[in-house]
């Protein structure tokens, strides 16, 4: 089961305009974006007030990568 925000995120096929940025998603909207997480968080929380948006960092490059942690 996924939230409305994660469904919206998965439906975003083209994220080119957000490459290298953080985005804050609430319902079906991006309510804040930018490279500085602190700034994006502040702006998003001012707009969302009671609810907490989903934060996502969009990678700089759109390439498949393997994670070995």
């Amino acid at each position: 089961m996924s939230s409305a925000e994660s469904q919206f995120l998965m439906s975003m096929k083209n994220k080119d305009e957000y490459r290298g940025k953080w985005i804050a998603i609430l319902d079906n909207k991006i309510i804040a974006e930018g490279k500085d997480l602190q700034q994006v968080y502040k702006e998003a929380m001012e707009k969302s007030k009671v609810r907490t948006p989903l934060f996502k960092q969009v990678p700089e490059k759109d390439t498949e990568e393997t994670l070995i942690l």
Binding site: M1, S2, S3, E5, S6, M10, K13, N14, K15, D16, G20, L37, Q38, Y41, M45, T52, P53, L54, F55, K56, Q57, V58, P59, E60, D62, T63, E64, E65, T66, L67, I68, L69
Partner: protein, 179 residues
């Protein structure tokens, strides 16, 4: 909404599968990963932007991590206490680095609900993560999560199942039977 019903006794999460389209219109299928949506707060109490802010993000369910891991940028937003006396050397697959050890409150987002997990141990690196590597390093390790839920990774169907563990506590009747 905060959970507490039978629904949360066994939860299923599909692996996160991202499909993007590049400039030439080609579809890029990223590797599906066992990530779940979570909310971190410093304390279990209700969020307060000044004293108890919260942060909602995807975390990788990582059975190989002894404890959970939050990049420093996110720990600072959460106003977590990073005490020098808690510093320990930690090791990843490729390097050793210094981390602070602290605690954070964890909730799992399950559809429209939030399932409280409680306070968990967490490591926060001394150094800030660089570039676009911050989000992918939110790790949900074993301590605090895997001892509360039986977690199964089904790589074939690409589903994580989390079944709540109930510790056996004898009732008065059980104790009486033993006499």
């Amino acid at each position: 909404m905060v959970g507490g019903s039978r629904l949360e006794e066994k939860m299923h999460f599909k692996y996160v599968k991202e499909v993007t389209v590049d400039k030439d219109g080609n579809h890029i299928h990223h590797i599906p990963r066992p990530k779940i949506e979570v909310v971190f707060r410093k304390y279990p109490d209700a969020k307060n932007p000044d004293t108890n802010p919260e942060f909602r993000i995807f975390g990788l369910v990582d059975s190989g991590a002894d404890v959970s891991y939050i990049p420093r940028q996110i720990a600072e937003i959460l106003k977590l206490d990073l005490d020098e006396s808690t510093k320990k050397e930690s090791k990843s697959a490729s390097e050793s680095f210094w981390t602070f050890r602290t605690q954070v409150h964890l909730e799992i987002v399950y559809g429209m609900r939030r399932v409280p997990i409680g306070m968990i141990d967490v490591s926060v690196p001394e150094k800030y993560e660089l570039g676009d590597d911050i989000e992918k390093k939110v790790l949900l390790g074993r301590n605090g999560l895997f001892n509360k839920y039986e977690i199964t990774f089904n790589e074939t169907s690409q589903v994580i199942t989390m079944k709540k563990i109930y510790k056996y506590e004898p009732t008065r009747a059980d104790l009486f039977k033993k006499r």
